[in-house]
Amino acid sequence: MDFRPSPAQQLLVATARDFLKKHCPPERVQRVALDARGVDDALWQRMAELGWQGLLVPAELGGSEGSLLDVILLVEEMGRAGAPGPFVPSAVVATSVLLACDNADQKKRLLPAMAAGERIVGVALADEASSLEVDARGRLTGRALFVEAAHVADALVVAARAGGETQLLLVPTDRRGIARWPLEVIGPEKLFEVAFDGAAVSAEDRLGSSAGRRGALQAGALARTAEMVGAAQRVLELAVEYAKTRVQGGRPIGGHQAIQHACADLVRDVDASRGLLYAATWRTSEGVPAAADVAMAKAYASEACLTVARRAHQIFGAIGYCEEHPLHLLHKRIHAASLDCGDAALHLEEVAQAIGLR
């Protein structure tokens, strides 16, 4: 057993941290968060030059051929920096669906462009948030809720009922009969309702049966967990730093046990979440059954990392209530990540079945 990333992975993490410090400092994160479009195109391009969006993609499709563990370590750093952009839906979930599908043309057409940062593909795969159907004439109808970054996505991967089965489709967002309505949320992520009103679906849009959906959502769940762990780690660091420097009554507030014990619990929550994340990612990479491990990691981190953010608000006191302070953005991102790719309730039910509850 070994918890340490490999030397190559440590280098990836160090590079990512330096890069994000330079190109994605807190002031920029703030600016992009308040911006209506909410995407940093220059940052997205620079990330692509480093091969980040193509980490899961093999070299012959223009990717940088990394492992799922690499992606998870990278997303942890992105979560730590609060980096904006649709990395998880496009570079993890949609990419995983495309890689697993049997539509070779779409793979060749899209994956190299996605890896190069030239195309963004969003996802609408959650059953509980969409009701899409393809009728006998090949028309897609219904709506999908909470679709991230639909405004900048060139296409969407959607799951739709067709006949008796669920099919995966790749639908360009500029097709007739598709409308994107922004939802206003508390956090920096941009979410949309996407309405399909008889949009035409052709053979070349079909990605095959829903076989790849589960794996893609598991990869997404791990990535969202990594984002939460990274953000919670940052919250912990900020809170401890503040507890050391904020002086009241002649002493740093971190000299009081009430604050010390809160900080001790933050460390536990972050470390425990990270342990489950790494173990579940490792098992997934090894190809051993890992559905329950992924579900445990996501459900656990959803609770633990959100608790970290909420307790940090109490440690920071009034200053953490300000818009210019980084805490609330990290907090809101943790909350948003906890919902995407299956919320805690969904994952706990998966765990419940795995431990044998009938």
């Binding site: 057993m1 992975q9 014990h261 489950l276 445990m296 431990i355």
Partner: protein
């Protein structure tokens, strides 16, 4: 990264499971109460059986009769025993004491005590706490006065687990008054039955006896039963407490996993498993237990690699105890009106195990460093927050 066991570790786990299949646990009479830590009851017969396999001394140097197996074999053994609910209560203490004797024990301790440990015969109680020295251990008053080639120990120890059925006490004493509060302490390995030693049971809220208090009335101990150099017992004790947190709690996660399995089975039988809220609580417990296990394995990797430990074992210890309390509480809720029934009662469910676990778990966040003291350790030693000023 690597989260699996090596082929040798996997093979050893299979060997342990084979042993447990061949030797049903009912065969081993129990001599002392299960205090709920996960290591089961105190059973001399079971310790003997482990000794016959060579497992007690398997990680010691060959020079002391060991096989120099890597530390992870101990973890594998712990996990398998705890998952099976085996009565290996004194094992962690025996290992820790043996390690200390191997590291800085006298020739006599190595010659007399180590072989008895390896045979599963010698087990130990800790004489640390005193009536007025709990979390503030350095306030202890027990003194050992040098008299020729002997020490004369006088004092009063309390909360010593299994002291009445163990063979030796690890008695922490003051041997001199020094300017520095942490200097002047020495540890002794004192055989039970030494004249002047009076061991009295303390009945606990479970109705059983786990702790004892020990009166030491001019107990004469040969100087070479001192463990480590005179006056430097505190550092040894700190190291011991650090490793106590790890070794004394490592088996909690697999032990809780065993209890959780029983609760799942029970919920399936009664139909409680269909209650969505209960499903979520049980599933969340499974995730917490998995997280707990990994906290311990991360600390284990640091210990194995000789990397510095600042807060990791303290975090893991507190989490073990609080997760155990939470699971016991969940078990009580699940059993409803049957929850208070004791082992042996008519109508008891799950052998009365849950009500016992519920009660014993109350002591876990107190014993071996309270949750409060350890959270302070995490904050000060791990995170670098300023220590609270100490009154002289």
């Amino acid at each position: 990264m690597e989260f699996g066991f090596s082929p040798a570790e996997t093979a050893f786990a299979e060997e342990v499971r084979g042993f447990l299949r061949e030797q049903p646990l009912e065969r081993f009479p129990v001599d002392g109460m299960d205090a709920g830590y996960g290591s089961g009851a105190h059973s001399r017969a079971f310790m003997k059986a482990l000794a016959e396999r060579g497992w007690i001394s398997m990680c010691w140097p060959v020079a002391y009769g060991g096989q120099e197996r890597p530390m992870f074999f101990k973890l594998v053994l712990f996990e398998e025993l705890a998952l099976a609910g085996a009565p290996f209560g004194p094992l962690a203490g025996s290992w820790q004491t043996a390690d200390a004797i191997i590291e800085y024990g006298s020739e006599r301790l190595r010659r007399e005590v180590l072989p008895a440990v390896a045979r599963g015969e010698a087990t130990f109680w800790q004489g640390y706490s005193e009536p007025d020295a709990g979390s503030d251990l350095l306030a202890l008053k027990t003194e050992a006065r040098r008299d020729g080639d002997q020490y004369v120990i006088r004092g009063h120890k309390i909360w010593s687990s299994h002291a009445g059925i163990a063979t030796h006490g690890l008695v922490f004493t003051r041997t001199s008054r020094e300017a520095r509060r942490s200097r002047g302490f020495s540890m002794f390995v004192v055989p039970n039955g030494t004249p002047g030693m009076d061991i009295r049971p303390i009945r606990s809220l479970t109705g059983g006896v786990y702790h004892y208090e020990v009166f030491l009335d001019d107990v004469r101990v040969p100087a070479d039963l001192r463990l480590g150099p005179e006056g430097e017992g505190f550092q040894a004790l700190l190291n011991g407490l650090d490793s106590d947190r790890f070794w004394g709690r490592f088996y909690k996660a697999p032990a809780l996993e065993r209890v959780l399995r029983r609760l799942v089975e029970h919920a399936n039988t009664t139909g409680a498993s269909r209650d969505p809220a209960l499903r979520r609580r049980l599933a969340a417990m499974a995730a917490e237990i998995a997280a707990l296990r990994l906290l311990f394995f991360r600390a284990a990797c640091l210990l194995r690699d000789g990397a510095p430990i600042s807060y990791e074992t303290a975090v893991a210890k507190v989490y073990a105890d609080e997760t155990g309390q939470k699971l016991a509480r969940l078990g009580m809720d699940l059993l409803g009106p049957w929850a208070p029934l004791r082992a042996g009662s008519r109508e008891a469910r799950l052998d009365g195990e849950i009500s016992h676990a519920y009660l014993t778990s109350l002591g876990h966040t107190i014993a071996g460093g309270t949750a409060e003291v350890l959270r302070t350790t995490v904050a000060v030693r791990g995170l670098g927050l300023p220590a609270e000023p100490r009154k002289a």
